[in-house]
Symmetry: C2
Subunit: 315 residues, 2 copies
């Protein structure tokens, strides 16, 4: 039922980690402590109108903005006569590799869906948000929008037709993410990938993906740790991230279950059992990067079990 | 505690399906209705002594026999002074692709372990049984011995060091297996595999493995069906199996969830929800093969939830 008495809604659109180790292009995860704040309000004027973006210099024209494009895709499927106004407080830096565009796209479609009385399930919202990703990076991938909308761990089995599974997430799992403030061009991140891989390594990769999924159901942190391996993409892409090898070994020494490249970088994530260890891992990452002249930010966060959160109704 | 009052044990050593679709080299499954009967008895004489093999012409010399080699590996690790005598009623045809050598190896080590009072867990028995596989096919793989020992679905994450997971198995899952009585040489089955595969297909494969594992936990037969896809090995190996394409489409029409090559062939398996459908699939397979001049056998079986079964103590 449409929430006709509501003028709008304030929400939290979470950051996310995609390309989790062996689950390149497939496994993603939603973060609790990092994300954008958004306000979605009804408008008399049909279409999507980006009212303001605080914190980043991004286009306000709806068709050039990921939130705008995602919102328009939803309206196109539901009712193009409707109009919504969007304000964004952008905390996730575009290009950081933790799903900045996905958060804007997911927040927009989740917020509009909420005001419309949830005509779409979270999974049905994924394709609309993917249109935002198509604008942001040229391909309509679901790696970040799926966890941002569904929460927890997600697996994208297929994008065409879309087939997304929500996986269980062990409650103690925590993430540490370092964002080295350098630019990794998507074109470079793609160029370093070999288009053919050895069958032997591919087998090892899918064995690890299977084991990782099992570890989530079993809450088996040891198996999760053993499965967080990527012998295919990480060796190629890590050359684009300064001090990657040192970061990885520092995380391990500090007690992390495993680590890898977040999205296509430059952020690097580590998973730990419990927030205490995740904070120790943050210190270890800090020690590696403080010796360099590269500016950086570090986030520590539990896994967010649900996707976009609604904070306040606007009446 | 060692079962000192027991002279021996009669047991059932199950057949198994390895290389399950996307889970090539990784996923295996234990069958309920097909297997060998074995009798393991204590002997005064140290070592393993193959007393008789009914149904197949196989070497009786322990070091040339998979059961012998597996048993000797166990004794070597436990107590080389002990001796056991083995009789085998071989129902699984060697070279059929449903784990004939694995059944002999698994049955032997499980039986000896039972008489010794289970000093080893089923998982700890896997490496001994793998030595039998090394004799049978030149590499110590766990694809069949893991399900034959642990039961249900198993995932071999790594062989060195060995890392095997038992996965849950939906109770209604049933298998139909057709064994076309032709020889597929292991060397041919290996030769047709390309040593490099496209990254795109590899990603699709590990997405399917992840989804397949999830489907087992969720008892989601639809997701299981969508995940039973192998775009890498099956297209290459299926050329060695006559009428494979017709078999596959006949299985699907008869209601199977999916189908693929069992082990390295020539057997072809199909999974169904429920034994009724599995029998319909058997009829469909029969119709495809009765038109050919290739002799064949068809088995229909539930998934066996546990591995080797102990049938009778010999006092």
């Amino acid at each position: 039922m449409e929430k006709v008495n509501l003028q709008g809604v304030k929400l939290f659109a979470p950051a996310s980690i995609a390309n989790i180790s062996c689950g390149f292009d497939v496994l993603g995860l939603c973060l609790e402590n990092i994300g954008d704040y958004m306000e979605i309000r009804r408008s008399e004027k049909a279409g999507i109108h980006i009212k303001s973006i605080i914190g980043q210099d991004l286009p306000l024209e709806a068709k050039k903005n990921v939130a705008g494009v995602a919102g328009l895709a939803l309206l196109e499927a539901h009712n193009p006569q409707l109009g919504f106004e969007i304000s964004i407080e952008k905390n996730i830096k575009p290009g950081s590799g933790i799903g900045s565009s996905a958060a804007s796209a997911a927040g927009t479609v989740a917020g509009i869906n909420y005001l419309l009385g949830n005509p779409f399930s979270p999974t049905e919202l994924v394709p609309f948000a993917m249109e935002g990703e198509r604008l942001a990076c040229g391909s309509a991938h679901a790696d970040n929008v799926a966890p941002a909308l569904l929460g927890g761990f997600t697996l994208v089995r297929n994008t065409n037709p879309l087939d997304v599974c929500k996986l269980p997430t062990p409650l103690e799992l925590a993430a540490t993410v370092i964002h080295p403030k350098i630019e990794v061009k998507t074109s470079d991140a793609r160029a370093v990938l070999k288009q053919r891989v050895s069958l032997e390594k591919a087998i090892s990769q899918w064995a690890n993906v299977g084991a990782l999924v099992s570890s989530l159901y079993e809450e088996d942190y040891d198996l999760l740790s053993r499965s967080l391996v990527d012998e295919i993409v990480e060796p190629a892409r890590s050359i684009l991230i300064p001090h990657f090898v040192q970061l990885k070994s520092a995380c391990k020494e500090a007690g992390a279950l495993g680590s890898g490249i977040s999205g296509s970088g430059p952020s690097v994530f580590a998973f730990s059992r419990g927030m205490n260890t995740a904070h120790k891992v943050a210190q270890a990452m800090h020690q590696v990067y403080e010796k360099t002249d590269i500016p950086f930010e570090i986030h520590v966060s539990p896994v967010k079990q649900s996707g976009v959160s609604f904070l306040e109704d606007i009446t």
